[in-house]
């Protein structure tokens, strides 16, 4: 009658890896994350090499502010924890709790994006355009690319949550939720290096 209800008793301990498809998704996604690491590595390398080439425009220590960066960091770090809670709820087979935690993750992601847009607008007003200097191009490319990842994650998790109202937690949907949470953690991993290398080292002037 209802496949969602039948699964209440039948869900395995690790529903995300109980089928071959789930196992493949899990492995394939980690392989993708390895590739993403290389991609961000090249963007970081470019930024680090060009960070002093300001060509008369504003430099890192002129524009970056500690409070905003700190706030963004705490928001993203907290959203990482809430998506961990969502996966715990998924393994407990509690759909409502999983949805709640994933929605909180989405809201925190949106807050992060809002802060980033405000920040970039502010820099534009301080005459740091995309083509102002090698520093500005490298900065906007690296941080903007990370921002695009956050946006993609927000859209991905939201659409999964809309789908979850209909499909619930099964061995088919569980791998999707699990992989989306891995992606969200990866976004936070990249941000840890961005706030350290781009912002803190920039403010330090090192």
């Amino acid at each position: 009658m209802s496949s969602v209800k039948d699964n209440v008793t039948a869900l395995p301990l690790h529903p995300e890896k109980s089928t071959l498809e789930g196992k493949n998704k899990f492995l394939g996604f980690w392989f993708f994350l390895g590739g993403e690491t290389v991609l961000f590595g090249t963007l970081f390398a470019t930024f680090v090499a060009l960070r002093h080439q300001t060509s008369g425009g504003p430099a890192a220590e002129d524009i970056f502010g500690m409070p905003l960066t700190f706030l963004s960091t705490i928001i993203l770090l907290t959203s990482s924890l809430t998506s961990v809670f969502a996966i715990m709820a998924m393994r407990d087979n509690s759909l409502g709790r999983m949805q709640l935690w994933f929605w909180i993750t989405v809201i925190l992601g949106l807050a992060f994006l809002g802060l980033e847009i405000t920040e970039f607008t502010e820099y534009m007003h301080e005459d740091l355009g995309y083509t102002t200097s090698a520093f500005s191009s490298a900065f906007y490319t690296l941080v903007g690319f990370h921002g695009c990842h956050v946006l993609f994650g927000v859209v991905w998790i939201s659409t999964l949550m809309i789908q979850s109202f209909k499909k619930g937690i099964t061995t088919v949907t569980a791998p999707k939720y699990y992989v989306a949470s891995l992606y969200w953690h990866f976004i936070d991993v990249v941000w840890v290096f961005i706030f350290t290398v781009v912002y803190l080292l920039g403010i330090l002037g090192g």
Partner: protein, 107 residues
């Protein structure tokens, strides 16, 4: 007999989840502390710049390892290939960054 066995399994699972939760909360607390330390070190004047740089990059690496091993479950079993994939990626990224840091004809 069968019910008793399943009750025991249930109890073990519950305990495991409790411990897992503790791991998550402790990791999160440590990550917040690492972040505060990094921001704090940059704010303090009088520390040599290269020391601060080295220190905060180390903090970032440690924080990311917590994220990978606890939040992304790399510490769990059956994570051999994920570990291989992510560290291969990290190695290539590290070599790339190293090359561009030590490049001589830009600065």
């Amino acid at each position: 007999m069968a019910t008793k066995q399943s009750e025991t399994t249930m109890y073990i699972q519950k305990q495991q989840r409790k411990r897992e939760m503790q791991h998550y909360l402790v990791s999160f607390g440590l990550m917040i502390i690492f972040t505060l330390l990094a921001f704090g070190t940059v704010m303090i004047d009088g520390i040599p710049k290269h020391f601060t740089s080295f220190f905060i990059v180390t903090l970032a690496i440690v924080q990311v390892l917590f994220q990978l091993y606890y939040f992304m479950h790399l510490k769990d079993k059956d994570h051999g290939f994920p570990t291989l994939f992510i560290f291969s990626g990290a190695l290539v990224a590290f070599i790339t960054v190293l090359t561009f840091v030590s490049i001589v004809w830009i600065s």
